[in-house]
């Protein structure tokens, strides 16, 4: 009963489904959970976000761990018995194009995670990915393609792991650590008409990398509401966001119109300096952004830069961030790590995607992109893309757009 209340935004919740800790369910889309699903958000919240018109379908017996996030702008299908590890990210849209106007939303591409597949800790499953039955994507792996049934991939770039990781039949994955969930799941995917599309036979008929006709931009707001009220509501929210920023960032020197739509944890030591430029935005979410500035260090952030939730900025030498940058969720900028302490410099118009790590001493040039999950330890030239772990620099032209 309590679980049903906590999942009230979900269109369907199967019997035996449990929530531990916190789960953030948001967006106007349709979210369906099968039976005996376990959402274990005790360490960190779990995020299920389906945009209006989009769907997240989670099969029976699925286990999702803390800090994991599923974002659907079109459709994400998670088959029965799938396990999604801590901090893993599954998304069917890149949210920004690599080239051109980064405020336009690119097309979505459905993500399918079939029965018994495994997504490891901090792994990132990108638009167009299809993990077939029993496929395993190990910790920290970034994948945007089909992984064949029973195949294990690891690394960034992902490579197949030759030696079998699981003993026995790779298609049969059991989770002895969750005895109550074992074998309870009938093999069906909820809400999917015409049989079970996640079965290899049905899925094989579908084209690979199916681009969906999800709206490229957010649909216009509800019609019929008087414009004056909407403007007033917008002003009130904006005022609240600015006041909240002034409170959370009171240890920083703030420009005009800095906003925070959620908590920001700030620690500036005496002798440290933090300057946040005009109209910088801190987006709230499943976990707060954290800023630490040590004595003698300086953090400067240029105007109109945006931080999504869970960003970590740890300045011990100095971190300088340019104007109009975008930092996605769980990005980490620390200028002192692994025995090295050296300033980090990020130019203007840089986009750092989800879960990327910027190491000490790195300079990122204007207009560069750091791809999701990338670990950057060398400088990134202006107008290029850093991708992989360790990162390599590729031309921005070597992306779909």
């Amino acid at each position: 009963m309590l679980t049903r209340l906590r999942l009230w935004r979900c269109a369907r919740v199967g019997a035996g489904t449990r929530v531990r800790g916190r789960v953030h369910v948001h967006g106007g889309g349709r979210i369906e959970l099968g039976a005996n699903v376990l959402l274990d958000g005790r360490t960190l919240p779990i995020e299920l976000h389906a945009a209006r018109g989009a769907a997240i379908e989670i099969g029976d017996g699925v286990v999702i761990e803390g800090g994991a996030s599923i974002e659907a702008q079109a459709r994400v299908v998670v088959g029965p018995g799938v396990r999604i590890g801590p901090y893993a990210k599954v998304m069917d849209n890149q949210f920004h194009p690599v080239r051109g106007n980064r405020h336009e939303r690119p097309a979505s591409s459905e993500v399918w995670i079939d029965e018994g597949a495994f997504v490891g800790e901090r792994a990132i499953v990108l638009p167009g990915a299809h993990l077939e039955r029993g496929a395993r994507v190990l910790a920290g792996t970034v994948i945007s393609r089909r992984v064949q049934a029973g195949v294990t991939v690891s690394g960034y770039p992902a490579k197949p792991v030759k030696a079998p990781v699981a003993l026995g039949d790779p298609n049969v994955v059991s989770w002895p650590s969750w005895p109550t969930l074992a074998s309870a799941a009938p093999a069906t995917t909820p809400g999917t008409p015409a049989g079970n599309p996640s079965s290899p036979a049905n899925r094989a008929a579908a084209p690979v990398h199916t681009p969906t006709s999800a709206p490229a931009v957010r649909p216009p707001g509800r019609k019929g509401r008087p414009g004056a009220w909407r403007a007033l509501a917008h002003r009130l929210v904006r005022t609240f966001v600015i006041l909240q920023a002034r409170f959370y960032l009171r240890r920083c020197r703030l420009g005009r119109g800095v906003g925070a739509s959620g908590p920001v944890e700030v620690k500036v030591d005496p002798g440290g300096r933090a300057e946040i430029g005009d109209r910088v935005t801190f987006v709230g979410g499943m976990t707060p952004t954290r800023i630490e500035v040590a004595a003698g260090a300086a953090l400067t952030v240029g105007g109109e830069t945006l931080f999504n939730y869970g960003t970590v900025i740890d300045a011990r030498a100095g971190i300088s961030i340019g104007r109009r940058c975008m930092f996605a969720s769980f990005v980490r900028l620390a200028d002192s790590a692994g025995g090295k302490t050296a300033p980090i410099v990020v130019g203007n118009d840089v986009w750092v995607a989800h879960g990327a790590v910027i190491e000490p001493g790195v300079t990122i040039g204007d207009g560069a992109v750091v791809a999701a999950g990338t670990v950057v330890s060398k400088d990134v030239p202006a107008g290029s893309m850093a991708i992989g772990n360790p990162a390599r620099q590729m031309s921005l032209a070597l992306s779909r757009g």
């Binding site: 994948i143 945007s144 770039p157 893309m385 590729m394 070597l398 992306s399 779909r400 757009g401």
Partner: protein
């Protein structure tokens, strides 16, 4: 197996497509995205024994079967000992 065939085999086994021409752009036709490009480069390095420099990660070298074959021929001609 010649270079062209080896590349086609890898691409069909990794990205699950085979109906494409030798001139077709992987990026434009949606066969490979930037994440996949990194996997392709790792394959070139491991199976053809070429070291691809970061400045060579451009469409002219990588974005079709023809471009890949030409790139590999240039590289192996320059350093025949490194051919795999």
């Amino acid at each position: 197996m010649d270079t062209r065939q080896k590349l086609r085999t890898y691409i069909s086994e990794t990205f699950f497509v085979d109906a494409y021409s030798d001139q077709e752009s992987f990026l434009k036709s949606g066969i490979i995205d930037s994440t996949g490009m990194m996997e392709l480069v790792a394959f070139l390095e491991s199976d053809f024994g070429v070291k691809v420099e970061d400045h060579e990660l451009v469409p002219a070298n990588l974005d079709s079967i023809d471009n890949l074959v030409a790139f590999l021929e240039r590289r192996t001609a320059a350093r025949p000992a490194a051919a795999g």
